[in-house]
Symmetry: C2
Subunit: 191 residues, 2 copies
């Protein structure tokens, strides 16, 4: 039962690795080209340290993603108006999706890396279940709204990292344009 306090250098290295990975993903155009060896080198540690600290590539990316997502998660569970629990569902659902879209725009390559790592799907990656449960909960508060489980999946699929990346990268869609289109689509679904 006793929690062992981790050594100071281990903590320092963990931070260094996360920071290094963030930098590398942000820099590179294709997340699969960021190798574990690259991350280790950028962080100034050995490869063994990466795997000791995170287990494998998937969990390293998940840990990084989780860290960066934390603020939004808190804003949703205990924050104020647009995202927080006090908001009426017909406003909160679009706000959730918009926040998620913006996050994926701000961390495009990281999100892309997360979604194409492991089995290649975001499902079962911890944070996905949380988003799905949360969004479905909001949709269920809407009177007469059926099939909220699938609808939540479908709405989340509309902001998947590779779709966003495709629209931004090869279609050159602007941030604001995307947000507007997502809002319009969400409105259709909620109507």
């Amino acid at each position: 039962m006793s929690e062992r306090k981790p050594r100071a250098d281990a903590v320092r290295n963990r931070e260094a690795v996360l920071a290094a990975a963030d930098r590398l993903f942000a820099r590179s155009d294709s997340p699969e080209h960021v190798t574990m060896a690259d991350i280790a080198a950028e962080a100034g540690v050995g490869k063994g340290t990466l795997f000791r600290g995170f287990g494998d590539r998937t969990r390293l990316i998940q840990a990084l993603f989780e860290t960066r997502l934390e603020p939004i998660r808190r804003a949703v569970t205990e924050g104020p108006y647009p995202l927080g629990p006090g908001t009426p569902p017909e406003e909160r659902a679009p706000a959730l999706l918009d926040a998620l879209l913006c996050f994926k725009l701000d961390h495009r390559h990281l999100s892309l890396a997360l979604e194409e790592t492991g089995t290649g799907s975001p499902y079962g990656a911890g944070h996905y279940d949380w988003w799905h449960t949360t969004l479905r909960g909001v949709l269920e508060e809407l009177p007469g709204f059926g099939g909220s489980g699938f609808a939540a999946h479908a709405l989340l699929a509309a902001v998947r990292a590779d779709l966003i990346d495709h629209l931004v990268d090869s279609r050159g869609t602007s941030r604001e344009r995307l947000r507007a289109e997502l809002a319009a689509f969400t409105a259709k679904v909620l109507s």
Copy 2:
């Protein structure tokens, strides 16, 4: 300009490879565990033959997918009522999505393989553009329906192979249940 007629054995081997790949993907639980060497062995040819005939793994999977999808593509472009061009848009859009869903259910592992190969996304894989263009065209025929470009992307995202796989595999959702939920969601969007 002259098209060179391919040798007979080359044609035979090409078929053997496609058939072998189909079998292996159908059999295995995780498409990434089907290696090029496996496919070559199953087809009874050397690895070199695979790469000569298809270029790389991505294109092999695309070729296989394309082949299997052909019938549906024809049904959409020149077939009768539910899918064909004569259908009114408010019926055709759901029919398209239902057909795509059924196809992905019938070829789950192959679809999964396709979507997680290459950059890890289905976008830019030829057939995606075709589906998107087609669906958007149908949506645009609906009076007063705006943002059809994004809506088409979002609707297609709702039937992505890994989502379907997730719902069927770990949620145990039945085929008919899924079809009904997709239909309900589509109806919401079209309303």
